[in-house]
């Protein structure tokens, strides 16, 4: 009894205070959520979307994508003054950067002459330095592969440093030079049409040498950049960005960014035309791995303002799936939009595994191929999509997702379930319950992963695979799973590939022989013809000719049955009606600067608090617009 009384007292006390206000920040605050957390914010190690979003907000990249122009994406200059001058042969890039851009004030700039640590001007040499860092053997770069073997002299510089044991940043590199204070000249070893995309990635952020020297590894929590925001705090669960007061003058031109009334009208972005970026004063990013937590928080109305609809809530949240449309209750509170990911999920066999991949014995080789095909036939894409992706979207044939340059159509048999056909294939190839190899499905421990496994087990059981031979190979973490994959110990790898840049080359390299593990070619597929075609297409820009080559390469993949592909997930995004933005997590990353928040006046807020309905009441004006436009969309 006493416990109950006690709890009662505690609750009643907090009932009165629990709806307290967030007073951590002044001015306009946008509260964002992510479903995962970044670990490192040093640009050379910011490999995840989560990290990229922050690094690109605090650092400057030479280029970035236009905010509203998506599918196809379009680059625009960011730190660069304009688009580069490219030589005839496509090998020499000359890039001018904006003059007068300043790094934020930071202790690392403190000198006798500059006792307050005023931020100095960003110069071309800073970019050169930042790129060199990836090749410094002291660093553990995650992005060096983007430029490996591409820029004249850069690899050799790294090699020399490795051999000498010290790194000489002053050493000149032929292919990577600052020809004057504001001009960068890059010379490539061969044409690399995607290189501009890489300069829009967080990896290519411009870092001042002073900061690296001062903070060393601690640069991760002490970023010194010239981007629109500064990092105020960062831990496992939260990052706080505040407006960079010395940020250069940048004005939001919605038409330049690709505004389209039809597509973007409902967001209210029109009102932001001509505003100086960044618009909000503070961005709070909560890293919430728990779907439940994110969902609850979003629904409260006074916590996070953006979130995706988690898998388990989709059935409750949507009134229709084709096209996705949220229920009335949510539509009142939130803007809703959906977007196909720039990437896909797929499963590939490990072609070096003797039981499922290549075999030196030609007969066994054929048998294995039949086995792989049978497994592919057992694979029920619709079932997978229904259970795990809320039944939204369609699988695609081949490896290049629709909407990406280089996409072509193929017959649907590789994504069609055919239990009888699979059984026949097995039987014809000589497989029986006794001689089938053990199928070990690797995954990182999580309930969803186990459900994936159980589903696969169910399918395989249907084609006559004995239950005892279907095993789960569970790794405690993704890291362990990754290691096992890189060491070629898994028989099959199921994962998602998010495109680094919107070009099919980023997909095709996944099966290029020399990229085999520990590279990105997890299937360890090594096919002479494929490799040859890949090399041929490599220097080509997107063109019909290249698409033809890619089509042939995809046919090889399908014929060899390297795996089951593919499906691009649809993300269902909700954002509170008091925020004006057009969120995305694909390709673009420096997007916080375009976000605006409708400030609520104090009195109104109290009222909404009292009726316990979060911000339902204060989105009136934009709310109507939202309603109209959702209708328009249908």
């Amino acid at each position: 009894m006493r416990l109950i009384t006690f709890v009662g007292i505690v609750l009643s006390i907090f009932l009165t205070v629990s709806c307290g206000e967030r007073k951590t920040a002044k001015g306009k605050v946008y509260w964002h959520s992510e479903d995962g957390a970044p670990t490192k914010l040093d640009p050379i190690e910011s490999a995840t979307t989560y990290a990229n979003r922050i690094t690109t907000a605090v650092y400057d990249t030479l280029y970035e994508y236009k905010y509203l122009k998506r599918h196809p994406y379009e680059l625009k200059p960011n730190l660069a003054a304009n688009m580069p001058e490219i030589s005839e042969d496509g090998l020499v890039y000359t890039i001018k950067i904006k003059e007068g851009v300043k790094f934020i004030d930071d202790a690392c700039f403190k000198t006798k002459e500059n006792p307050k640590g005023k931020g100095r001007e960003v110069v071309a040499a800073d970019f050169v330095y930042s790129l060199k860092r990836h090749f410094d053997p002291k660093n553990s770069s995650q992005g060096s592969w983007l430029w490996r073997g591409r820029i004249v002299g850069l690899d050799d510089w790294g090699k020399a440093a490795r051999e000498a044991g010290t790194t000489d940043y002053a050493a000149k590199i032929k292919g990577l030079q600052a020809t004057d204070k504001y001009t960068i000249q890059i010379t490539l070893t061969e044409p690399y049409p995607q290189i501009l995309y890489t300069f829009a990635m967080g990896f290519a952020s411009v870092v001042p040498q002073e900061a690296v020297e001062k903070y060393g590894k601690q640069l991760t929590t002490n970023p010194v950049g010239s981007g629109p925001f500064m990092l105020k705090s960062f831990n496992k669960t939260k990052a706080v960005l505040v407006k960079n007061p010395t940020y250069r003058k940048e004005v939001f031109d919605i038409h330049y960014e690709g505004y389209d009334e039809e597509k973007h009208g409902f967001t209210g972005i029109k009102a932001l035309h001509g505003k100086t970026l960044p618009i909000v004063d503070t961005v709070i990013i909560s890293f919430m791995k728990q779907d439940v937590a994110r969902w609850n928080s979003l629904n409260k109305g006074n916590e996070i303002q953006f979130g995706t609809i988690p898998k388990d809530q989709i059935d409750n949240a949507l009134m229709s799936k084709k096209p996705p449309k949220v229920i009335e209750k949510l539509a009142k509170k939130f803007h809703f939009d959906y977007e196909r990911e720039s990437g896909f999920v797929f499963s590939v066999f490990n072609m070096t595994d003797p039981a499922f991949g290549y075999s030196d014995d030609p007969k066994r080789n054929e048998m294995n191929k039949a086995l792989r095909k049978a497994i592919r036939k057992a694979f029920d894409w619709q079932g997978r999509i229904d259970v795990f992706y809320a039944g939204i979207g369609e699988p695609f044939v081949g490896i290049i997702p629709p909407g990406i340059s280089g996409y072509s159509e193929f017959p649907k048999d590789s994504i069609t379930r055919d239990v009888e056909g699979a059984k026949k294939l097995l039987k014809d190839a000589g497989w029986t319950a006794e001689n089938l190899p053990v199928f070990e499905y690797p995954n990182a421990a999580s309930t969803t992963a186990t459900q994936f496994f159980e589903q696969v087990r169910g399918w395989l059981e249907e084609i006559g695979y004995p239950r005892k031979k279907i095993k789960q190979k569970e790794f405690a973490t993704f890291g362990d799973l990754n290691k096992s994959m890189k060491e070629r110990k898994n028989i099959i790898n199921s994962y998602g590939w998010g495109l680094d840049y919107p070009d099919a080359e980023n997909v095709m390299q996944l099966f290029y022989g020399p990229n085999a593990s520990p590279g990105s070619n997890a299937s360890n597929f090594d096919h002479p013809e494929y490799n040859e075609l890949f090399e041929k297409a490599k220097p080509m820009p997107d063109s019909e000719e290249r698409t033809k080559l890619y089509k042939r390469m995809t046919e090889i993949l399908l014929e060899e049955c390297v795996g089951m592909f593919g499906f691009s997930r649809t993300r269902l995004k909700l954002w509170n009606k008091n925020t004006i933005m057009y969120p995305t997590r694909e390709i673009l990353s420096n997007v916080f600067k375009y976000v605006d928040v409708i400030k609520k006046d104090k009195k109104k807020k109290k009222n909404t608090k009292a009726d316990g309905n979060g911000n339902a009441g204060d989105a009136n004006n934009s709310g109507d617009a939202g309603q109209k436009n959702t209708e328009n969309k249908e």
């Binding site: 898998k311 309930t447 239950r467 405690a476």
Partner: protein, 308 residues
């Protein structure tokens, strides 16, 4: 050891045990809980023999997340699997985990405790106490996680170098055993130190019975009441820890358990899907509760000091 002493000892033991049994059966709650535990054990046995819950892994793609029905008594989960069968099947998993952990941990605790107590005051005792102390001052979940991973690594090495497979299946078991045995060892050690000075042990000493024989034939059986209670406690702890470990991704593999079902439920409950949650937590709760009461009753029955 003479026959005389042997007889005396058996008489003493018998009286303790018969008394315990008599006392136990007068404890109504104890008997009820014991029957529930037995019922669960029967269910588990049936599962192990393949009498029921054989279709726990079967998919029914059209029956996603349904409520209770005639075909699926407790509804289905997201893959359309029968939650009732899964819950029943999990009984086997629970007993397997509980029994393996309880038996091995108690045995290990008993042996170490006996040796430590018998050689109390020597370096052997110091050594064991040192190990126990070291284990006890590492936080439980961290230690379990660490042991779990170490065993996994070891299992991979074993697989790679000796072709031994399936060792990693026991990673969680081993992790729990490694943490649970210390409590038993401490208790047994204390008891052994007490017993050591009793007449029959000293007598055995005097007539030259070798040390190991004294320890395992004369001392160990006299700590049996402690071991029994400790084993029940370890059983309950193992089942309960499995839930947390499953949530943390260190749980059982290739099978289903209440812990896994509850871990699944952590995502479903907020979406208003309760079948997994209720089924697993009800099964779990009843068993743990019954086992707790059973352990209490057992402890009361076996406590020689307790009169009323």
């Amino acid at each position: 050891m003479t026959n005389e002493q042997n007889k005396q000892e058996t008489i003493k033991k018998e009286t303790l045990w018969t008394k315990a049994v008599r006392k136990f059966f007068r404890d109504k709650m104890g008997v009820i809980s014991f029957s529930i535990v037995c019922l669960y054990a029967l269910i588990a046995l049936g599962v192990a023999c393949g009498f029921w819950a054989t279709e726990w892994s079967e998919l029914n793609p059209d029956m996603k997340n349904t409520g209770p029905s005639a075909d699926f008594w407790l509804g289905t989960n997201i893959l359309g699997q029968d939650i009732y069968q899964r819950a029943i099947f999990s009984t086997k998993t629970a007993f397997e985990v509980g029994l393996v952990v309880a038996l091995v941990a108690t045995m290990l605790g008993a042996i170490v405790g006996c040796l430590s107590g018998y050689f109390s005051g020597t370096w052997i005792d110091e050594f064991f106490l040192w190990i126990i102390g070291c284990i006890d001052c590492i936080p439980f979940y961290l230690f379990v996680a660490a042991v779990g991973f170490a065993v996994n690594t070891l299992a991979q090495n074993l697989n790679a170098s000796f072709g031994i497979e399936g060792f990693e299946y026991f990673a969680m078991h081993i992790a729990m055993i490694a943490t649970f045995w210390t409590a038993t060892a401490r208790l047994v050690r204390g008891e052994v130190i007490k017993i050591k000075h009793l007449e029959f042990v000293e007598a055995a000493h005097a007539i030259g019975v070798p040390g190991p024989k004294i320890i395992f034939k004369h001392i160990l059986p006299n700590t049996f009441h402690i071991l029994l209670v400790q084993a029940t406690i370890a059983f309950v702890s193992a089942i309960k820890s499995e839930v947390i470990l499953s949530y943390l991704g260190l749980g059982v593999k290739n099978t289903v358990s209440w812990g896994k079902m509850i871990a699944e439920a952590t995502q479903e409950v907020p979406a208003g899907i309760y079948s997994n949650f209720f089924a697993a937590s009800a099964f779990l709760f009843v068993l743990v509760m019954a086992f707790n009461i059973f352990a209490d009753a057992l402890q009361d029955a076996l406590d020689p000091k307790k009169v009323s």
